[in-house]
Every structure is written in C-alpha cells, then in structure tokens.
C-alpha cells in the first residue's frame, strides 16, 4: 500500500512529455536533485555503521578463533547461516523484535558482512609465514606483541580486501533497507521504478557511493601496506 502511494507522489502531473514518457530527463533531474540528498546520506550512514559494527564483531571473533582453533567451525557455521538468509527475509524476521527503522536494517546488514570479514581476517592471519612467527617469538616477542606488531599488520592486505567486499555488497543490500523502514536510496528507486530519470539518479548514486567507499579503502590499504608494492617493484 505504502509503495503504491509513494509511486504516485514522486512526480506531479506535468506537461513535459519526457517526464510523462518515463524518459531520461536532464531538466527534471536538475530540478529535483535535492530530493536524493537525504536518502543518499541515510545510505552512507547505513553502510558505514553496518560495516563498522560488522568489522568490530568479526575481527574480534577472528582473533579469538585464531588463538582457539576450535572456534573456527562454529563461528563459520553461524555466520554462514546469517550470510545465506536473504536480507529482505531478515528484515521481516526482525520486524516483530526490533520494529521498523534503522536498527532493524543495521542488524540485518551487520549479520550479512560477518562471514565475509571473519573469513578474510582469519585467512590473513593464517597466511602469515611460520618462519616469521618463529623468528618473532625467538626474538622475545610475547604473543600479544607478535599479534599486533607482526601478525595483524601482515594480514592487512586480506583484511582490507574483506572490507572492500563487505562495503560494496552492503551498499547494494542497503538499497533494500527501506523494506525495514530505514530509508536510503532504495526507497527512491522503488518509489518510481518505471521512471528512468529517477532510477538512473538513485541507482547512479548507489554505484558512485560503492565506488567511492571502495576507493577510499583501497587508498588506505596502499598507505598502510607500503611493503606489498616494494615486493612487486623488485
């Protein structure tokens, strides 16, 4: 019901044939661009908050599982189930518990990225060469020093790769967040999915956001892992 209403609301009856033909209308876009600003920032917040929380949880779980190997299977299974539950289903499953809104959407998005980040962090840590760890321990690094000074820095390329996947998929999934009543660019897209101008602007903003966040992480990764390029340049 709401959806249909929204569809009616997005554009007024107009004389413009481009708009009434559902075409791609630069003039209309220029006039109506401000209606996308708020959903865009909702989308940014949804994505960043979900990935940040997901990272905090998954990273902690990965560190625990790295030291206590028996944790790997249960964590993989649980996060794997969360990963396979379709997001829309998750939104509706959560509705009776957390109601409509930002919290529900965020929980579903967090649940989705856990497996991706957990697996990448763990792979990164597991790929640290044995001889590097042996040398570190042999020189007198404690387990904690070894973890933070050697293992985590060396796992950074994989960790950052996981973050990139998590961010780009979350931008995509967050377009469904309006089902949970959390707004975002998806609300705009589905508000009038037949109107090309609308879909191009809202969809384009989502793609641009994914690309921008992905690029930002990539730049961060290059800044904090200069040694990986030193190896390639040789």
């Amino acid at each position: 019901m709401n959806l249909l209403l929204a569809q009616v609301q997005i554009r007024e009856r107009t004389q413009d044939t481009c708009v009434s033909d559902n075409g791609f209308c630069p003039g209309w876009i220029a006039d109506n661009f401000d209606r996308y600003v708020h959903p865009f920032f909702q989308h940014v917040v949804l994505t960043v908050v979900a990935v940040a929380i997901g990272f905090a949880i998954a990273f902690t779980l990965a560190l625990l599982a790295y030291r206590h190997r028996w944790l790997i299977n249960p964590v993989t299974q649980v996060t794997g189930v969360l990963y396979t539950v379709p997001s829309i289903a998750a939104f509706f499953l959560l509705l009776p518990i957390t109601g409509r809104g930002f919290v529900t959407a965020t929980i579903a998005l967090v649940a989705y990225v856990l497996l991706i980040i957990f697996r990448n962090v763990l792979t990164g840590l597991d790929n640290v060469p044995d001889e590097t760890k042996d040398a570190g321990r042999g020189m007198g690094l404690t387990d904690r020093q070894l973890l933070w000074r050697v293992e985590v820095p060396l796992a950074m390329p994989e960790i950052m790769a996981g973050l990139r996947i998590a961010v780009t998929t979350t931008v995509g999934l967050a377009t469904l967040a309006f089902f949970a009543g959390a707004g975002g660019l998806g609300e705009q897209i589905f508000a009038d999915i037949t109107f090309k101008s609308n879909v191009v602007v809202a969809g384009g903003l989502a793609v641009a956001l994914a690309a921008a966040l992905d690029g930002a992480i990539l730049l961060t990764q290059r800044a904090i892992t200069p040694w990986t390029r030193a190896a390639a340049a040789r």
Binding site: G140, W227, A230
Partner: protein
C-alpha cells in the same frame, strides 16, 4: 639474574660479551612418543666458542637448540646459561638476551631493514638515536651499506643480503649467546661459502658463544670449535673439536657420518703455515759444489733446490749438476708444485699428487722459498694434538 637486569637498563656494554652454556642431561619427550627427541644431552660450550650440533634429520639437533631459548620446553634435565637455569627465566625475557637466526631468516616483510634490526632494541626500550646508530653499525658489521639498505623492505633484498640482515638482527643487542639453525642452508654454494667466511671473520671480532645447527658435516667442520654429533633418538654420539672428531671417531656411526675421506677433511683444517716444514739446500748456479754436497748429507730433503737471486725456486738439481767444482743448472725436475704458506694442507697434498711429486717448495708472499713440504709431513700432521689444530674462526 643481575646480569640480565642491568642489561635492560644500561644496554649491551655492561653485559658479558659471551656466556658459557651447559646442557645438563637435557631431555625432550613428546607426549605419545616412546622415544625421546633428545635424550640426556650433556655438554658444555665454553664462552666465545662455536658449538655445532650436527646429525642426520630427525636426530633432535634443532630440538636441542630450541630448548636453549625455551622455544621448546625441557622435559627433564636442565640448561644453564652462565650458571643460571633457563627454566627460571621468563621465556620472552630470556629470548631477548639470546640472538636467534634461522634458515628461512624470518625477516618481518612489513618492516624495513632498519626496523627489523631494531625489533629487540625497541622491546628493551632503547632511545631512537641509540637504535639508529646501532642499526648502521650492525649493517656495516655484516658488510651491507647502511645508506643503501636501511630503508629497504626484505622483498627488495637478495637471499644473501636477507641472511646478513638476519644475522645483524640477531646481534642487535649484543647478546652473549647466538642460536643459529642452518642459517646458510637456503643459500647457493658459492654464496654460502662467502657467508660462512664472513661469519667466521665476524666471530673473530665479536667472540660470541654460538650454537650452530646443521646437517652438513663439512659445514660443521668448517664452522665449529667443537662439534656435537647427534644420532637418531637425540643421543650424543661424540662431542669433540673437529680434528679429534675426524681422527678419533668415537663409534662406527660417527666414523660413517664424517665420511671415508675424513683424513682429507682433517687436512683441510690446517694450512701450510701451521706445520713444521723441512729444509733443502738452496743453491745458486756457480756455488761451490763440494759445500752443497756436504749440506745434502745432513738435509731432510735429499735434493738441492736451485733458486735465483731473489730465492724464487727454479728446480731440483740433478746428480750431474753437483758433480763438478761449481754447480751447473742441470735439473732433474722443475720445482712444481710451488706451494704458498696460506694453502690448506688438503690442497697442497692434491697438488703434490697431481705433479707426482714428493716434495714441494713453499714460498712466502714475495715468492721466496721458506721451506719444503713433503708427503711425510702431511701424514704426520694427521697425528697432531687435536686441541692444537685451529678450528672455527681461528682456522680462517
């Protein structure tokens, strides 16, 4: 205990430069295995000496080494460092006092050469200026140019350079003991030889106590002041200086392990300058022959050696050259091979055999004859007191 405490506050200069290491019945037993990995190992490494642990794979040599810095815990017995049990010390703190170099080097790929070397100094809280100075000093010590190397990442170095940085890192806080597990094992033969020589030269300066693990008996003989041969089950088969190990192997296992060419290996430990040479009458053309004939009667070498005015050897004189009043230049043979005082005995023997010669004139760096080496001297050299035969850094 006081030694290590003071080392943490005032740094390496206050620390003894080398420690005495004693294995006292050290045993390692892994749960679920009937045979111990190392069984009742007892030996003492005097301060400043290189002890090589050698043996076939699975003999427990690496396990024995790793028990010293508690990378592997001792099941029974004890290991004492300057009289103090390593079991009484906190593992991480103990390890910071012991240099550690392994075959795969294990440099930290994400840190520059300088930061790799600075690892333990930072753990011990050295200030920046001191660390920087120490890094440059160590790089020079291992024959690397500090300006060129300091900022590089390990991936930008050659295998040999990485190995050198590994040794520099192990030496960072001037530890009284170094553990080296096949440190040159992954290097090609030519560079390995160079690194071995470099390390021995370095050791001649720094005189650390070193425990060096290898499976290569030739490397053991070259590097070791003392060699501990381990056999399967982690039992010590023999612990002796290289010369003794080669000439008096304690049992058939050691004899087999050192190889059938052990006499030749033994000769490789000494140089021509280390043995007493024989003398031969040195004569010039035109010398009075009667006088030379008189000298020959008392000479160890039964031939007279013709030399020029600078004492360069020309050849062995024939009977006829001595027959007249004055010496003529009739030779029975040329003076080949001409040996040098720095030649190792094994190579000298090889050259004598190649020339089918019994005697070879030995010349100094200017080419002047200082004596004669004979096959007989070589066979006597094998009987020298093993303790007198130079080993490790002294044999270089």
């Amino acid at each position: 205990m006081n030694i290590s405490d003071s080392a943490h506050t005032t740094g390496p200069s206050s620390r003894p430069s080398a420690a005495t290491l004693e294995f006292r019945g050290a045993t390692k037993r892994y749960p679920g295995q009937t045979d111990p990995a190392v069984e009742g190992l007892s030996l003492t490494v005097p301060a400043g000496e290189i002890c090589v642990l050698v043996g076939p794979s699975g003999c427990g040599k690496t396990t024995a080494m790793r028990m010293v810095n508690r990378m592997i815990d001792i099941t029974e017995g004890d290991i004492l460092l300057d009289g103090q049990s390593v079991r009484e010390r906190h593992p991480a703190e103990l390890r910071r006092d012991i240099g550690y170099a392994i075959q795969q080097v294990g440099l930290f790929p994400h840190l520059s050469v300088a930061d790799n070397i600075a690892t333990v100094p930072r753990l011990l809280g050295w200030d920046r200026a001191r660390i920087r100075a120490r890094v440059d000093q160590l790089l020079e010590l291992v024959s690397l140019d500090p300006n060129e190397t300091r900022a590089r990442y390990p991936a930008q170095l050659s295998g040999g350079q990485r190995q050198r940085v590994g040794v520099a890192r192990a030496l960072a806080v001037d530890p009284p003991l170094m553990l080296m597990d096949e440190p040159f094992g992954a290097i090609d033969p030519i560079n390995r030889e160079r690194l071995q020589n470099e390390f021995l030269r370095l050791q001649r300066e720094i005189r650390k106590t070193v425990v060096f693990v290898t499976h290569d008996i030739d490397e053991a003989i070259k590097m070791g002041d003392r060699i501990a041969v381990l056999q399967k089950g982690g039992k010590l088969a023999q612990y002796a200086p290289p010369a003794e190990l080669l000439m008096q192997p304690a049992n058939p296992f050691v004899e087999d392990f050192v190889g059938a060419d052990r006499a030749l290996k033994r000769l490789a430990l000494q140089r021509v300058r280390d043995v007493d040479l024989w003398t031969a009458p040195l004569v010039r053309v035109g010398d009075p022959a009667a006088q030379v004939r008189g000298k020959l009667d008392n000479s160890e070498v039964p031939y007279a050696l013709l030399v020029d005015d600078d004492l360069h050897p020309l050849g062995w004189l024939s009977e006829r050259a001595l027959a007249g009043d004055r010496i003529s230049d009739e030779l029975r043979s040329r003076a080949n091979p001409v040996l040098e005082t720095d030649d190792i005995l094994r190579d000298a023997l090889s050259r004598l055999l190649a020339e089918e010669a019994q005697y070879g004139p030995v010349v100094d760096e200017r080419g002047a004859v200082t004596g004669v080496l004979s096959i007989e001297i070589l066979s006597h050299a094998l009987k020298a007191d093993p303790e007198q035969v130079p080993s490790g850094a002294d044999a270089l």
